[in-house]
Amino acid sequence: MKTDDLIAALALDAAPVAPRAPTRWLWLAAALAAVAALAGVVLGLGVRADLAVAVGGMTFWIKATYTALIALAGGWLAARLGRPGASARRPALLVLGVFAAAILLGLVNLATTPAEGRLHAWLGHSWRVCTLNVLGLSLLTTPFLFWAAKKFAPTSPTLAGFATGLTSGAIAATLYGLYCQESTAAFVATWYTLGVLAAGGLGAGIGRFWLRW
């Protein structure tokens, strides 16, 4: 086809588009992903028996804040990486900052715990399953977010896939808090973080192929 004919054909299809549209799809996908993860927790794992008591305490909300912040920062990062020529520096720094803060809190937690209680504070009751559960739940959230990520145009699909996976993992981890009873910062900073990062790694692999355009 001649280039001029192609341009004429494309111009015929010049329906109005909104620059905010891709971001809106991302929000919608995040909401649907949260619903899917909620269903996964309620139907698959079962909500923690002491939920009514837990929501009255700080720990529950600090855990949720950590993972929700990662989800927000990760989504922001994915959205910036998905716009050619836009700088992703600030969201990248925010993601790193939130991870660093959580790890720091975890270390402080260990340092202030008496030596005999440290191992338990770190491993809790469920360290063997926590990371895998978060990763498993992220399988429910990932399809929604990658569907929205496809509306963008990431110039580095692997990196954008990582950010998208991170967001899926963080949404899954936030809802996982409805099941998981662990309450130490050291536990959350280690096993939740690993689960979220694993989802990010999975996302990088998906993005490398799926997010090309």
Binding site: M1, T3, D4, L6, I7, A8, L10, A11, L12, D13, A14, A15, P16, V17, A18, P19, A21, P22, G82, R83, P84, G85, A86, K151, F152, A153, T155, R212, W213
Partner: protein, 174 residues
């Protein structure tokens, strides 16, 4: 661009046409064996610009967005064609928009410097035929040559220029 996003087909067509020109120059410069591949890449990039136009953030310069799209398509093409280790330098958006004119300008001024070697009448004749695009008869009439004489004069001028070019930098010293 904004009007194009708003669904103004004429504005969008104008923008795509202009982008096509910039892209053609950019890809031709980057693909040394350009030709048909460069034109394929122009078309592919135009389709991407069209399909992904919502990913341009109006708070950002349009040029930076378009350059990033073009560079992505170029890297993608180089990868597909098996040149895994080729390196596409990250320049600023000007690489897509400004260079073209600068390079064209450079070629013209080189040519003018070469032409300065010729006698005045021959030089003007060449300029009119080769640069301005008049026919040999028209240009000849302008400077008092018959068509045949003009052809001979042009032929001689070209020999002089070729010799000058072959002598390397000779022209630059005059």
């Amino acid at each position: 661009m904004l009007r194009g996003l708003g669904g103004d087909a004429a504005a969008w067509r104008g923008l795509l046409t202009e982008m096509g020109r910039h892209l053609r120059a950019y890809f031709n410069r980057r693909l040394y064996d350009g030709g048909a591949d460069a034109e394929d890449l122009v078309q592919e990039t135009l389709i991407a610009i069209h399909a992904k136009r919502a990913t341009w953030d109006p708070a950002q310069p349009f040029t930076a967005w378009a350059y990033a799209v073009a560079r992505y398509k170029l890297i993608d093409y180089l990868r597909r064609s098996g040149r895994r280790h080729s390196h596409v330098p990250l320049e600023d958006a000007g690489a897509l928009f400004a260079d073209e004119d600068a390079e064209e300008g450079a070629t013209r001024s080189d040519l003018r410097r070469m032409l300065a070697l010729l006698p005045d009448r021959q030089r003007r004749l060449i300029e009119d035929v080769k640069l301005t695009g008049l026919s040999v008869a028209e240009a000849g009439a302008k400077y008092g040559y018959s068509e045949t004489a003009a052809k001979v004069a042009i032929h001689r001028s070209m020999k002089t220029l070729e010799a000058a070019a072959a002598a390397g930098e000779a022209g630059r010293e005059d």
